[in-house]
Symmetry: C2
Subunit: 663 residues, 2 copies
């Protein structure tokens, strides 16, 4: 009998240790897309061999294998959920996100290949193109008969895509665009599907019409014909990568490649045969960011993938931790199970709680995406531009937090499994190597958080996307700080919390640590204070006639911190709301424990800030750390069912060593 089992089920304060019904919890996590998630789970189990192939095949063979798996999965409808039904799709954007997220429980080359083909390439044709493009390409790309790539990033420009170097010049005589790579820094780089499989590419290039530049536009371009690279295009393999070697990343140069006028994906801009440039959006910056905004689904997908990859790592590490024994601790006759060590609980259980929190936060983003994208397009009547900006910001923040969480969680789980965790068959090798780039692609996390901060500071004003860092610094400096703060949604919330809670300005010293209103109020206060701080700092610098960019650079860590605080608040709100709506019962008790553990570990992680800003006494700060430990002990007996509820197919866990020993 372990120390845990000896603990009484009913504590002095009337707390009764809940039991977790794995099936019920899984149904809650799977939500309304349970069916498509189960389809993906079935497909993953069916193709489980690909996990082994990843270790054993040559890169060339593995690329073909991954392609085959992708095409086979496409035939089940799994990958086309987001496309219109008339082209063989499922017509359900929410389902497409759910399918993609679930795919992250398996081999991640398959995931990324799906993301490139159906998300980036397919998404660009769907969102940036018009009916002729849809008719020409969608059915074949949905089925996987035609593979494509998304040629945006260049060697010289990854984050700052407005400054891309590739040029598309309109030749009015021939009624063609001529696409050219002016220098090596402008070659397309890291392009998935480019090195081997793509027949088509969506190419982003500076549009030049009659000597006038109109900014970056997208063109659908044939780069291979019957498997051979066409004239005017040169492709080079990026070579071996840290992970994701089932995806064929390549570099592309264009040497005056001629494409018809209709190659321009003309949802947001058109060049007439006689060379007139037309767009419903006059401002070139706004046009560019409206185009980019339609591709937000990619960020939502990567964030979800990071969260789901974390689930695999935790399922393995927790199952190991409740079996593996090491050192006699409580019992001189028997070594103690790892998860009965306080330190081991501290390492893993807050990560389980945070994974639940991020899961529900992701559910909200995916739901909003579904709403926005099932409504009118950005230039159509009734389009809610403010909602689109909010969605983009939320997607950016959740992607950053979800992918950093993956990096951290997988690393901690590997270490918690010791040497066994280092063997490839135990999955951490691939999980770690494959997810590593999630923090970079679909937007570097720091750059994304700056985007979030911009939105916060300008209250998602129509003009905010158009502003570069100099522009934003000047814009914010032009406002009164109070205005910036008052325009934020959080300001109203904080006011109402202050009004509601007894004790006036000392609310936070008296409220119960496990009161979600207290937890939320803390995160809201932090967010509001940080936004105000950034605005104040920018203003002060500009008032002192400093270079706006230099001021921004100096304030940058505050900018990133404010964006992170904002996203943390959204995550906690999502978790609290989800928990609150449950009927009373063990499931709710268990989720409340997790929600408390997540909330208090989040506050604990930044308790220095709260103390610095007068919102936490040192006594109360220490009490929070004690409470986190106490919550870990309460969550401990639930650990196994909590990770079982993630619904990771057994075949995806592999890990014969980690699963089998110590029984």
């Amino acid at each position: 009998m372990t120390a845990q089992e000896q603990a009484p089920d009913v504590e002095a304060d009337g707390y009764v240790q809940p039991e977790v019904d794995v099936e019920a919890m899984r149904a809650l996590l799977d939500g309304r897309h349970r069916e498509v998630r189960d389809l993906v789970r079935t497909n993953l189990a069916e193709h489980a061999q690909v996990l082994l192939d990843q270790e054993q095949m040559t890169t060339a063979d593995f690329r073909e294998r991954v392609k085959d798996v992708v095409v086979t999965m496409a035939a089940t409808g799994q990958t086309g959920m987001g496309f219109p039904e008339e082209y063989g799709g499922g017509g359900d954007i929410g389902a497409s996100i759910a399918a993609f997220e679930t795919l992250a429980l398996g081999d991640l080359s398959v995931l990324v290949k799906v993301g490139v083909q159906f998300g980036l390439f397919g998404g660009a044709v769907l969102q940036l193109g018009t009916k002729p493009h849809h008719d020409a390409y969608l059915a074949d790309l949905v089925s996987g008969r035609t593979m494509g790539c998304f040629a945006m990033t260049e060697t010289g420009h990854g984050s700052n895509v407005q400054a891309l170097g590739t040029v598309a010049t309109y030749d009015v005589e021939a009624q063609e665009f001529v696409i050219t790579t002016p220098d090596d820094a402008s070659r397309k780089d890291y392009i998935g599907n480019a090195a081997a499989h793509a027949e088509l590419a969506v190419v982003f290039a500076q549009l030049d019409v009659a000597g006038e530049r109109h900014g970056v536009h997208a063109f659908v371009v044939r780069i291979r014909e019957g498997g051979e690279v066409v004239d005017g295009v040169r492709i080079e393999d990026c070579g071996p990568k840290m992970g994701l070697n089932g995806v064929d990343n390549g570099r592309i140069w264009f040497d005056g490649l001629r494409v018809p006028r209709t190659a321009l994906l003309n949802q947001f801009a058109e060049v007439t045969p006689e060379g007139r440039y037309l767009s419903p959006i006059d401002n070139p910056n706004k046009r560019f960011f409206t185009m980019l905004g339609t591709l937000v689904q990619g960020r939502v997908c990567v964030g979800g993938a990071g969260i789901n990859a974390s689930k695999v790592a935790l399922a393995i590490a927790i199952r190991y931790a409740v079996r593996r024994r090491q050192f006699e601790a409580t019992d001189p006759e028997q070594e103690q199970v790892l998860l009965d060590y306080g330190m081991h609980q501290r390492r893993l259980l807050p990560l389980v709680a945070r994974t639940y929190a991020l899961h529900f936060a992701q559910e909200v983003v995916a739901g909003q995406l579904h709403e926005v994208f099932s409504g009118p397009g950005p230039t159509e009547e009734g389009s809610d531009e403010h909602a689109r900006r909010m969605l983009e910001s939320r997607a950016a923040g959740t992607k950053a937090l979800g992918t950093w969480h993956a990096t951290r969680t997988i690393q901690e789980c590997r270490e918690a499994c010791g040497g066994a965790g280092y063997l490839s068959e135990n999955r951490f090798a691939a999980l770690k190597a494959d997810t590593d780039v999630f923090t970079t692609f679909e937007g570097d996390n720091h750059v994304l958080l700056q985007l979030v901060a911009k939105g916060l500071l300008t209250d998602y004003a129509g003009e905010f996307e158009e502003m570069d860092q100099l522009g934003m610094a000047r814009f914010v400096a032009g406002l009164a700080v109070d205005t910036v703060v008052e325009r934020t949604a959080v300001h109203k919330l904080v006011q109402s919390v202050r009004d509601l809670l007894p004790g006036g300005d000392t609310w936070d010293q008296e409220a119960g640590l496990l009161d979600p209103n207290y937890q939320l109020a803390m995160l809201r206060f932090r967010e509001e204070h940080m936004i105000g701080g950034v605005a104040r700092r920018l203003k002060r610098g500009i008032d002192q006639k400093e270079n706006a960019g230099a001021v921004f650079s100096r304030v940058q860590d505050h900018v990133i911190a404010a964006a992170r605080a904002h996203t943390e608040r959204l995550v906690l709100e999502a978790f609290v709301a989800k928990t609150a709506e449950l009927p009373d019962g063990d499931l709710k008790v268990a989720l409340n424990l997790l929600c408390d553990l997540h909330a208090l570990s989040t506050i604990e992680a930044d308790r220095a800030w709260f103390m610095e800003h007068g919102r936490l006494s040192s006594t109360r700060s220490k009490a929070i750390s004690r409470e986190v430990n106490a919550l870990c002990r309460k969550v401990r007996p639930l650990a196994r069912p909590l990770v079982d509820a993630f619904g990771v197919p057994e075949e995806m866990l592999r890990s014969p060593e980690l699963m089998a020993w110590g029984d």
Copy 2:
């Protein structure tokens, strides 16, 4: 002209920006073993092709390649520095550490293969064996003619090696030991060199003489003869690993393998032909830990390897960051260099400072190791047992901090290089995958920190190694808390600091942030307070008649934190001492900047604790963060020479993409 260049060289407070002489700084870092470090650098450059081979060869071929490189390097004397000259070694333990550390600038399979052959296997024969063993094996193992492995870890026991399952039974009739693997949990696992190359193994097994168990002892055993596995031994390949695939890790089962009586490495214990067990150390626990203690060099080496692998990552990321431009920030005409962004400075420069700090801390450990191991052995007259215990503790702590630093630094550097960092040719892929297990091997970092804490709590009492966790909890609880604290070295230091500094108990509110006495006093206070806290908590739990192990488990995070605080203090002391001994000049100014940056980022990282314990006001805490930012700006112009001074051979940087673009 960048914003940095516009900054005046002389600031209002008279501070003059120093220039760093790369050669002089490198000489300082290389220290007294410059010659052997340069030999290794030359060897690395000579075999630079191995970095490419790692990507391109099959595992089987790469293993052979790595073996060849190791043997070729051995011929230069590089790998045998630590062995007596009469067997072809260099007779200089300090040089052998320096050589090993420097090897970490190159391919890490080569490093680990060297570590297995010359450190673990060779070290065990040298330290645990006696003259007949030395005569029989050392010359051939130093030259690499005979490869060997170190068969300690078992599937069921990695951290708790006292509980190993393999048994060696003495057969008095045959005057042989019979070695047996009783169950699959007792198979030897993850054993480097075992799957393909080792002819010999040092096998750790429970010694059974006439039915009496004497604990774990080491035997030198032939496992292959002319490349074929011998009868009575079964070996299985561990298969693909996350990294280090040039090392052939395997599993070994023994099925009644008979070895002669002389196979026992009998430095610390002997079995006479007629079956009498003799040892100069009566207590079996003490004997076991004395044996283990002689193998401390492995931990010192791995810690140094982690620190040096970090240097490679930083050299690449900093060189990229001072070339790569992205976004117009200060200048609308030109994009800004990454390292001129405040956030980028924050991400990388404290890691540069910490790498310097750990380098000098490692120099101290390596120096102490050299002293202790060049003196009398642990059972000889004049042996300073206390010094050995201190060394073991310091090696354990530095290994933990050095290897965690590697994991964190390599990850941050990869992310700071964006997508380019993900390509194998840019080195992060291998660095990350290969170093990942450093936090686990030669002792899991958390287990090592517990060892450090044990030493602190018991003041390295002779008996401390013998105690398991239950025993230690009871032992500490039996002491007065004051006794525990007073016995620590830090207690006296803190007292004297308090006495010396003006202002009595408010010393820490008034001292200058850049005063090293202030910085050290803060870390010393934290350490002492944490040790006292652990002792108090253990005592309280035991006084309340709780299970000693359960109490320990609950206090475990405090135990680990105290050990970490202790090691952080040693690291800062080493850096401060190194800086203080330099003559005035730019080098000293530059090192002072780094030392301040390291000290204040260390305090900043744990500022919550200092606030909670009344040693930091919220105002002062914020001032520390501002000072860290200011120090980053001062270090910024030195970044390139500071990483150049690491002396990483150009061939080891590879990274054509990261180095070449953006010029």
